[in-house]
Symmetry: C2
Subunit: 594 residues, 2 copies
């Protein structure tokens, strides 16, 4: 059976022993985010995840959402769980206190996001999308808009969506056809069809606030003629409550491979009343603000599902008796040994563990820098942190979701045939995780964003935000007696990353297609090096504590780091070779020969 | 939308231009398997796959099987399709003419198996299981048994199953508890519960013949006390027709991630009448005969689904307009270029192609040797072929299904968000393919079989059946002007395989656990080298024809080979490094620290 316990011990280790979460309260408006407060918040969130969300995960998948006559019902129990979730203040955890939020740092919020994704990803989509809408409005909305909408998004009584995709355009939003006609009252009449709208319609909130990309009549063609509009399902009345119904309806919901309890809607806008958010024709800016946050959040989905799958796999591997250990019978009192004694099962569990714990640390690193980029007192430090976050966003999104998919498949494999049976819950993690590699920009698009935008930006300055600290770290520790074992493989892999970076930067200038041909492998190479750096940092934080630690926690970190360096990091060899081989053989074949 | 056309051109290329299918008719009882006959047979099978099976694939998935009061209904249309399938003689294609079969070689049969898996894997499970039962009975059954059961299995009026797994035992069949009590009439009373029984109950045949592993009262413990019994659902009457109902019932069916139109049954045997097949306590022998054939068949499932996914992805990539080519607009008349112009989409399609065509050739090689092992006039040649097949069976099973899963996921990724929607059919391939990595021995078990049984067997003689021809090939072509480009990377990867083999053989003698720790990576390394050899053979077969070939078929082979060597084969680097690092870090952690 699937099982879930929030990994709070590891989260606290990452925040306070590896990263610098103890410095968060030094920043403006994070004063309350002290360790004393953070730990009980994580524990409280853990309880919600374990006791409220997780029990609805399987039933939500079986039941799914139901569309009837424009209305969507969420599965049994979701409404009540959402109420509990709002009452606990979780919808406003990382929101501005000026609008009723708790103002918690992203570093803490993203740990809780992981728990929500582990326990019930479909559920998490609803507040997740609301938070995206909150973020865009908070950044680009007028003061009136903020006063009207943000308190409701923060307390969860209203929810939000992002309406980008249309039947003929996803990645290429320049093809967007939804129209916004200016009205005499300063509003716009929005008309068009949007698809794949998560949380577009459901029964958990009083109102739903759609943020819609559309084009005004005289807008320039392509991406430069797209504006962002806010289109509420019910138009707020004078008291600010949900009033008259707007011209937006849910035409149908999709039948999907996974996240079945998350409604994925076709939304028809038929002269719906909307208001411009930010400047005309600058809609992509608002969307990108939302999308960057969303991409980090999707990364956490991969991590969260990997963790849930790992926990299920470990429990099963300890209970399932099958075969005998190759190094001699381990449980002579039982008819067979538990399968955790078998090397191949170990390989699977250790792989999950090494990826999960590495990603958790990496996610915390990026989240902490995101907090710094927003709140640090020093301008330069803020800018540098922003450059780092820009660089790492596509890596977190693609790496965490690709590894998340790998890890959920490993968890299922540990269960053998039982993993394929729905009842045990392991295959649901695989199906739920699969979408994370696709939405918010497919992982191929993340790789292009990395090499096409983030790498060349500011003459490579973003890159330096990663390369410099890692380089310094390697120089400091490569000859260290204890750390050398771990830092030397990091140094080798880092050398490959540097060389591959030089190669892609060079060819990218003259032949962007040739650089793009190596993008996916490059992103993975980058991600694996970043994880290696995280593992070194975790060893550094653990090595002096391991001997006296009866729990074995720190010793396990060191062993897992060793496994990562010996068994997983070597993948950088082949990625490097593949990148350096160039893209000619990939592009040569005529279209009609496929 | 998913689409499928049987890849007959490529199959004929593999059989007659790369392999030696033209020599098949030289062997006893394959006299009729001439090229003139084989091509129309493939075409006819292609039609059945495209026109009868494929149209039921999506609807079968949506509808699934339904259990009611011990009876199982297959989805709408399956019964009729099965009837058409039997009438065409497809159930008996590779069966003994003495029992009504067509006696076609495995090399041909496995091409047709690929088509069936591409078009409707769930459907293919029913005749597939029957063939497994046929094979065991044909090898180990008494003459009376054969006369009674084989003609019905061959014409498809009866079907068969393999009843191995029990709730507490899958891989470790020694734990089997099903009992077989000898009766005064020479039969046995079989009692116990079997789970995960594919085709255990359904509505497409008059009778179902279960082959059941069970234990007689005085049998030795463990695997050495297991016997094989034949237990028909209806006991044949004096005319050999399905007579009285036997004591076997279907208790329920499983709700699974995929292959939903294939019934996966809990079978309850309650003193059911059974008859011993082969010798007492030698049941595993019969099962292994069946399992080896089944493992090759499961490999073809991975290949078949990869092919279907590839075809869908190619069609979509040519139609879906999104973005512009980085090397300049390709279709100025359209609002955007088709996504096949983008390097990352190319990378995905080329990866599918390189794996699929490589596996198809490799599958044909193994199938041809299987035919030789059974029918060649020369004893020594037969034995050598058998050694080769023994060696390659776990590799085909695990490699083809792992790559099949990768390829079906790639196909889905090409579709972006549309891939996640059930309607388009791409996600079904992923779900259907996932089980192939698990059943008939998980892929981890295949890897153990390779290093623990097949590698050391006969002092390494099995290994030589692969190593020698590849070594000879390399020596012959490595300096060749045209072939060198392809054979040199093969030679490098082959060198790694040789070294890794030596390493595992050495450590395996003293520390089997240490060797087992590298088993999965070793199997993949082996498989990738085998594919590289196949690609060299395909280049060899194509190079003199490419220039004059207007279709571009041979040129595409050479380009795809280049892609394989440059972009995929480098994975052997990292697999090698990981194997050579040993297994210490994998086994170190205490169980309770997981």
């Amino acid at each position: 059976m699937a099982t879930y316990k929030a990994p709070i011990r590891d989260m606290m280790f990452v925040l306070y022993e590896v990263m610098n979460a103890d410095k968060l309260p030094e920043m403006e408006s994070f004063e309350e985010a002290t360790r004393d407060l953070v730990e009980p918040i994580l524990e409280e969130a853990g309880k919600i995840a374990e006791e409220v969300l997780f029990p609805l995960n399987r039933s939500g998948d079986e039941e799914g959402c139901i569309w009837s006559d424009g209305k969507v019902s969420t599965p049994t129990g979701f409404k009540e769980a959402y109420k509990t979730f709002c009452e606990g203040g979780w919808t406003g955890l990382a929101c501005d206190p000026a609008y009723g939020g708790m103002g918690m740092p992203k570093a803490i919020d993203s740990m809780i996001a992981e728990m929500i994704c582990s326990s019930n990803l479909s559920f998490g989509m609803y507040p997740g999308l609301s938070h995206g809408a909150y973020h865009s409005l908070h950044t680009f909305g007028s003061d009136d808009m903020k006063d009207m909408y943000l308190p409701k998004l923060v307390d969860g009584s209203w929810s939000g969506t992002m309406c980008l995709t249309e039947p003929h355009c996803g990645t290429d939003l320049g093809l967007c056809r939804t129209k916004a006609e200016p009205q005499s009252d300063g509003s716009y009449g929005v008309t068009g069809t949007k698809i794949f709208i998560s949380a577009g319609e459901h029964d958990m909130t009083e109102n739903i606030i759609h943020l819609v990309l559309a084009r005004t009549p005289d807008a320039p063609e392509g991406i430069k003629g797209i504006s962002l509009f806010i289109v509420p399902k019910f138009i707020p009345d004078d008291q600010g409550d949900a009033g008259e119904a707007n011209g937006v309806t849910c035409g149908s919901i999709e039948h999907k491979m996974g996240i079945k309890a998350s409604s994925t809607c076709v939304m028809n806008f038929d002269g719906a009343k909307g208001w411009l958010v930010g400047e005309l024709n600058k809609g992509m800016r608002g969307m990108f603000a939302m999308m960057n946050a969303a991409r980090l959040a999707v990364g956490m989905q991969g991590l969260g599902l990997a963790e849930a799958s790992y926990q299920g796999a470990v429990e099963y591997a300890k209970e399932r008796l099958q075969g005998r250990s190759l190094s001699g019978v381990k449980h002579p009192d039982k008819p067979a040994d538990p399968i955790i004694v078998h090397p191949d099962v170990r390989r699977m569990l250790m792989t999950q563990r090494a990826y999960i714990e590495g990603c958790r640390a990496m996610g915390a690193w990026v989240a902490e820098e995101l907090d710094i980029s927003r709140r640090h007192a020093d301008d330069k430090r803020r800018e540098e942190a922003d450059e780092f976050v820009q660089l790492m966003t596509p890596i977190v999104k693609a790496l965490f979701t690709d590894l998340g998919f790998e890890c959920t498949n490993i968890g299922m494999q540990v269960f053998g045939g039982h993993g394929f049976i729905r009842e045990h819950g392991m295959e649901q993690y695989v199906r739920d995780c699969r979408i994370a590699q696709i939405y918010e920009g497919t992982n191929g698009i993340q790789a292009l964003d990395l090499i096409g935008r983030k790498m060349p930006a500011k003459a490579g300055r973003n890159l330096r935000r990663f390369f410099h600290p890692v380089q310094d770290y390697i120089e400091k520790y490569v000859m260290d007696e204890e750390m050398g074992e771990f830092v030397q493989p990091l140094a080798k892999a880092f050398g490959r990353l540097q060389q591959a970076t030089g190669q892609l930067a060079r060819v990218g200038m003259g032949k962007p297609e040739e650089a793009a041909a190596g993008a996916t492998e490059y992103l993975r190479l980058f991600g694996l090096v970043a994880l290696a750096y995280m593992w070194c940092r975790m060893v550094e934080a653990s090595k002096d504590k391991a001997d006296e630690d009866e729990s074995g926690f720190y010793g396990a970190k060191i062993t897992t780091a060793r496994f990562y360096m010996e068994k997983l990091l070597p993948q950088t060899n082949s990625l490097f070779a593949s990148i350096m081989a160039g893209g000619a053989s990939m592009m040569e074949l005529d279209e009609e020969l496929f």
